[in-house]
């Protein structure tokens, strides 16, 4: 388990992280989300020991971060960049060597990964000859080649085509099954819903939401409904206990604030107009994210 305990970091007068704490369980995908400038990258850099915290500590499987060597961690940064003139295999061996792999082991692992991503034919190609998506896969391999205990991925699916997204998801599933600690940062809430088990929402250096995705969704469930009809639905605005969230061409999404009239109103609605579609809407993480950040 990775534990972040009361972590704080400031740059000059700007407090980027303010006493944040969270836990990442092995075998679960942990999503670190938040708007731009929330402190996600700083948190990841602190975990990776690229920068030092002002206070607080990071513990991995009961061992303080300072006592852990760097090969325990694997990092895929958000900005994709590689040595453009380098050859694929040379580059992967270089990162393998930096992470305590022997040259032979690094070479074997590199070819194994390249094979998994269908890129074994590109082993001796220069990075500059590869497409953006391929370069991203190489960067993913470079981050995980040494089979680290803790994997930190910043926007891992960005730029990948749907097929390679599936491959990457399979890889993440494999790491989960191997009990790896996986931290993932993204802006795509759909990605979080599809890939992650746990979410930690940071805003302005503070954690405003932390928990299992299922639990969070349950917590934020509200009486929201979506209806489609052949008739005009503008009359819905006349009801004071009804909040219209979205409205479009005889379709409407709304919540009912007064629980007392809830059942009665829905019953009357079916009697009054011809309804084509009626759905009880679950809150999406996207909605929860926007709601919480705006509220904060």
């Amino acid at each position: 388990m990775l534990e972040v305990v009361k972590l704080s970091k400031s740059f000059d007068d700007l407090k980027v992280l303010d006493n944040i704490s969270f836990k990442v369980t092995p075998g679960k995908t942990f999503a670190l989300v938040g708007p731009n400038g929330a402190g996600k990258t700083t948190t990841m850099r602190l975990i990776l020991k690229i920068i030092k915290p002002d206070s607080g500590e990071i513990i991995v499987n009961t061992i303080p971060r300072n006592k852990l060597s760097h090969e325990v961690f694997g990092y895929l940064p958000e900005e994709r960049g590689l040595y453009q003139r380098a050859r694929v295999l040379d580059l992967l061996i270089y990162f393998g060597l930096l992470n305590k792999l022997t040259r032979h082991r690094a070479e074997v692992e590199a070819i194994r990964y390249l094979d998994k991503f269908g890129m074994v034919d590109y082993t001796l190609r220069r990075i500059s000859d590869l497409s953006k998506g391929m370069q991203q896969k190489i960067q993913f391999i470079a981050a995980t080649l040494h089979n680290p205990e803790v994997m930190v991925f910043d926007e891992p699916l960005t730029g990948l085509d749907p097929i390679n997204q599936i491959v990457l998801r399979e890889m993440l599933d494999q790491y989960k099954s191997e009990g790896k600690i996986i931290i993932l940062s993204t802006h795509q809430m759909s990605e979080v819903e599809a890939l992650c088990d746990h979410i930690c929402l940071i805003n302005q250096g503070n954690i405003i939401l932390d928990g299992q995705i299922g639990e969070i969704k349950k917590k934020f469930t509200e009486n929201a409904y979506y209806i489609e009809s052949d008739e005009d639905l503008s009359f819905l605005h006349d009801f004071k206990f009804l909040n219209v969230i979205e409205e479009q061409n005889n379709s409407c999404k709304f919540t009912i604030s007064d629980k007392k009239v809830h059942n009665k109103f829905i019953q009357s609605l079916f009697e009054k107009i011809n309804i084509r579609k009626f759905v009880h809407v679950e809150p999406s993480l996207h909605d929860i994210f926007i709601k919480l950040v705006q509220k904060d």
Partner: protein, 504 residues
């Protein structure tokens, strides 16, 4: 500790191998020095190279009224001949015979001259007649005849004096017309490229030595120097002849002196040649500059690229900023050392096959090769630390290149000061410049190759100075690198950099 060094070694090896294979390294190791050597030797080659396509005509306008043309031609023939043995210069007296104004002036002079001759004849006849009267003792009306012829003689003499004055005036006029017309004719021939140049010997050339040299090209130094040398010799010989000095004695006196230059070195007095000394200094400094800035440039772009393409984030995850910095500096430093060793090997091959006259280029020795490596290493480390810091501060290559250009300008200063250095290697200004750490390696390389006496104490002092500067700069660079490398898209001011240094 071992792990620490292993990481530095891996980063060094990566930097070394990725750059070693580039065309840029091959270009700066083999092509650039070659191009540079050609570029600096070509101008001197062209200055000293004598085309010798065909014999050159040199016009000659003689206002001195002495016959020196043949002597001048003879001396030119003795000194300068073409490969086929024919004379390189032919002296052509400029003719004005066809000039109407000259012909008019000449006719007028001739007319006055004939009058002068006729009056002189008449005057002489009267004088002779009077003499016969005087000597004839039996002549009866002797007194009368002498008296009447006396008046006639006085009148004729007056006329003769007047005609002689007139003749002198016409003579001066003719000289003036000749001077003008000859110059006009010579200019015309010069413009038509018939003459290569023309020489005007003024009237009193043997007293004041004033000679004019006219050519179409102002900087025709080689030709004018040759002509000056020969005319000088001709005039001195003529003066000596006029002083009745024996011809063989003159030849002995005017035998040219050849000076051989010797420099006292640790190995004893050695002969030196200006061109070798000059090129030794320039080539040494430029090669050092190239070596430092090739590796330094690689280092600079490596840091900058890793920052702009964010590879540095991945690297920082697996290695500390100090390991990355050390790995880069050492890896690219070894690349620079390899480059210097390649140059030294090429020089050794040239010396081995006698393509260089080692006797003439005394500074080409093993000891100086060692000093070159020594000052390259120290110079590189100092500049490397600066490059690392600059690479980490800037976010775009364009901004960073501006500072790079300033650094290059400072570093090339010793090349521009080579003449000043050769003139006075121990002057105060050179001493001050030598103790500016950024310039120390360059000036020390020049001093070691040019000053013969051992510079042991100066080598110790400058090495210590550089060593201390390197430690200071590496300390500063490490701080800037650690903080600046992760700050993307930020433009640092000097105040912010100082703040960065204080806070980190």
């Amino acid at each position: 500790m071992l792990r620490n060094f292993k990481t530095i070694f891996y980063i060094s090896r990566w930097e070394f191998t990725t750059r070693f294979r580039t065309k840029s390294f091959l270009f700066s190791t083999f092509i650039l020095p070659l191009v540079f050597s050609i570029l600096i030797t070509l101008p001197v080659y062209f200055i000293t190279y004598d085309e010798q396509v065909s014999t050159k005509l040199v016009g000659f306008i003689n206002l001195s009224k002495t016959r020196v043309v043949d002597t001048l031609q003879r001396h030119l023939n003795q000194n300068y001949t073409l490969e086929n043995g024919s004379p390189e210069y032919i002296v052509l007296p400029v003719s004005v015979e066809n000039s109407p104004s000259y012909r008019t002036a000449l006719n007028e002079l001739m007319e006055v001259e004939s009058r002068k001759d006729s009056i002189t004849t008449e005057y002489n006849r009267i004088k002779n007649l009077r003499a016969s009267y005087y000597n004839n003792r039996g002549l009866k009306n002797k007194e009368y005849l002498l008296k009447t012829t006396y008046d006639e003689m006085i009148a004729t003499r007056e006329l003769k004096d007047l005609v002689e004055i007139e003749y002198d005036n016409y003579r001066v006029h003719l000289d003036s017309v000749y001077n003008r017309e000859a110059r006009a004719a010579a200019d015309s021939l010069l413009l038509k490229n018939v003459l290569n140049a023309y020489v005007v010997m003024r009237e009193n050339v043997f007293e004041n030595g004033y000679v004019e040299y006219h050519s179409l090209v102002a900087g025709n130094l080689l030709e004018s120097e040759r002509m000056q040398k020969i005319i000088n010799e001709v005039i001195i010989r003529t003066r000596l002849k006029e002083a009745k000095i024996d011809a063989t004695q003159i030849a002995g006196w005017l035998h040219p002196v050849a000076i051989k230059n010797y420099q006292l070195r640790s190995i004893g007095p050695t002969e030196w040649d200006f061109y070798f000394e000059f090129y030794g200094a320039v080539i040494g400094v430029v090669l050092l500059f190239m070596a430092i800035f090739t590796s330094g440039g690689f280092l600079f772009s490596s840091v900058l690229q890793e920052k702009t393409n964010r590879v540095i984030e991945m690297l920082l995850c697996y290695a500390t900023s100090r390991q990355i910095m050390a790995g880069k500096i050492f890896g690219l430093g070894f690349l620079g050392l390899l480059q210097v060793l390649i140059w030294l090997c090429i020089t050794a091959v040239f010396v081995f096959f006698n393509l260089f006259d080692i006797g003439q280029i005394s500074y080409l020795n093993l000891e100086n090769a060692f000093y070159f490596l020594h000052y390259f290493s120290l110079g590189y480390l100092l500049y490397a630390a600066i490059f690392v810091a600059i690479g980490a501060i800037f976010s775009s290559e364009q901004e960073a290149q501006q500072v790079n250009i300033i650094l290059r300008t400072v570093a090339i200063l010793p090349v521009l000061l080579v003449f000043l250095f050769l003139k006075q290697p121990n002057s105060e200004i050179i001493t001050i410049l030598t103790y500016i750490p950024l310039l120390t390696p360059y000036f020390m390389i020049m001093k070691i190759s040019q000053i013969g006496i051992p510079l042991t104490s100066e080598i110790y002092f400058t090495s210590t100075l550089l060593f201390v500067s390197i430690i200071g700069m590496v300390f500063v660079a490490a701080k800037i690198f650690r903080m600046g490398i992760l700050m993307y898209g930020k433009k640092f001011t000097v105040t912010e950099i100082l703040h960065l240094l204080r806070s980190s």
